[in-house]
């Protein structure tokens, strides 16, 4: 996407909104990149669904431990202060509203905050949901990291999701390669957008009505 940010830049942008001292769950895949771009002055405690608080960076090659992995089943490290607990306690943290923010991917986000990110509903697909539905209802802030459009140019921000839902009315903010958009009672509110597109061009790539915030800013990254 020459018009917008790279995935790393979107991850950087999300990382800037992580609040010091907060407990954060990063979804499997692209959202994991966010951990690489945290401002150095912030201490964030990362949660992993499989019973971990205080995830640290990837281990050095050769230092991996098969019994120290994250929800994406990748080797991790534990920071001093890290803790291990079982799956029911881990999801008590999620569903109980203790996670300050989670970052999830999306197939679609609707203007009412509905999220579809686990299934395209195709009959040939094996239905697999993991912890997405728990995070969607449980995290205090649900942040979505996604390309603004699909590879074939279809908008992912829509009036109503056509894919099976993950949660209803759950999304707070969407970070795309083109914009940072809050979900409000009045629908999608553009907080930031890239300079390379006009607001009309952004609207054309979006499947629901956008409102530009009065105090909108250009979306930039490192």
């Amino acid at each position: 996407m020459t018009d917008g940010l790279t995935r790393e830049q979107v991850a950087w942008r999300i990382a800037q909104d992580m609040v010091d001292g907060s407990f954060v769950n990063l979804g499997i895949g692209q959202p994991e990149l966010v951990a690489n771009f945290l401002p150095e002055d912030r201490e964030i405690i990362f949660h992993s669904e499989n019973g971990i608080l205080g995830m640290g960076p990837e281990p050095a090659p050769g230092e991996e431990d098969e019994e120290l992995i994250n929800a994406g089943k990748k080797p991790i490290t534990l920071l001093p202060g890290g803790a291990i607990f079982h799956h029911a306690d881990s999801f008590a943290m999620i569903r109980g509203g203790h996670i300050d923010a989670c970052v999830l991917g999306a197939f679609q986000v609707a203007e009412n905050g509905d999220l579809a990110n686990w299934s395209t509903g195709g009959s040939g697909m094996v239905p697999a949901v993991g912890g997405a539905m728990d995070l969607a209802v449980g995290a205090k802030r649900v942040l979505v990291m996604t390309d603004h459009c699909t590879k074939t140019g279809e908008p992912k921000l829509v009036e109503k999701c056509s894919y099976p839902l993950t949660g209803t009315g759950v999304v707070n903010t969407v970070y795309t390669d083109l914009a940072v958009i809050d979900v409000t009672r009045e629908g999608f509110l553009v907080r930031e957008r890239v300079d390379s597109l006009s607001f009309e061009e952004l609207q054309n790539r979006t499947g629901a009505r956008l409102t530009l915030a009065n105090d909108w800013r250009p979306l930039t990254a490192f």
Binding site: D20, G21, F23, E43, I45, H47, L53, G54, L78, L79, P80, G81, G82, A83, I84, F85, A88, D89, F91, A92, M93, I94, R95, G96, G97, H98, I99, V137, G138
Partner: protein, 236 residues
């Protein structure tokens, strides 16, 4: 940097408001956050609802707080003991409300509040006076009672070790209601015998993970409620 430690008990309880619901951990002589309760007495918040397994003994800790007249309601499983004189006087004088809950239902309601469970069906108390007014539903051949979560504004907890993130361990039977109360309060305040450097508690031995804790204050030599009661001490 995350640092949940505060230096004084006064600071630890400063924000507790009139009308708050307050979890007080502890069972018998084990795990009572007596110094935090006394700090709450000094602080002066009133119209409180307290949750504990019992209803205080003698004239210290929870009983001393009851004795201030600032507690509107007591929620517990067993509001009676050889030393629960303050509660019994208030109760018989009609000066305090009481909600008696079976002990397991009390624990499960607290956990449910912490775990985001809006209700659960338990066989406990079905067919007894404690189920009156509650929804009854038949599952698996027996009656069950619908119970709702029990949350609090504040939890007062006694831990053995704590670090600046708020990870906790408890000593022996002092664990009791501590871990679940930490989960279910908007603000969890902990007095700990030892404040230890981050990383000193092995990750597999953390009992309450940091996410459930808001403030930590070190109280290296907590008082013995038992001795205070035997000595007839009153707080303040």
């Amino acid at each position: 940097m995350i640092d949940k430690t505060v230096v004084t008990l006064t600071e630890a309880v400063a924000h507790i408001k009139d009308g708050d619901t307050v979890f007080i951990a502890g069972f018998g002589d084990a795990g009572n956050p007596t110094e935090l309760v006394h700090a709450l007495i000094d602080q002066g918040a009133k119209d409180l609802t307290l949750v504990n397994n019992n209803s205080g003994n003698g004239f210290v800790g929870l009983a001393a707080l009851l004795n201030t007249g600032r507690v509107r309601k007591m929620i517990c499983s067993y509001p009676r003991s050889s030393h629960s004189v303050v509660f019994e006087e208030l109760y018989h004088a009609g000066k305090i409300e009481l909600e008696t809950i079976p002990q397991g239902t009390l624990a499960e309601r607290i956990r449910a509040a912490g775990a985001g469970i809006a209700g659960f069906y338990t066989p406990t108390s079905a067919g007894t006076p404690l189920a009156e007014g509650k929804e009854i539903r038949h599952f698996d051949g027996r009656d069950h009672v619908l119970e709702r979560p029990l949350a609090a504004d504040v939890a007062l907890i006694k831990a053995e070790t704590a670090d600046r993130w708020g990870n906790l361990t408890y000593r022996l039977a002092a664990r009791n209601f501590g871990p679940i109360m930490c989960m279910a309060a908007k603000c969890t305040i902990v007095q700990t015998r030892k404040l230890v450097p981050l990383g000193d508690i092995p990750p597999e031995q953390v009992v309450t993970p940091s996410i459930f804790v808001d403030r930590v204050v070190e109280v290296p030599h907590p008082m013995s409620e038992r001795n205070a009661i035997l000595n007839g001490e009153h707080y303040p």
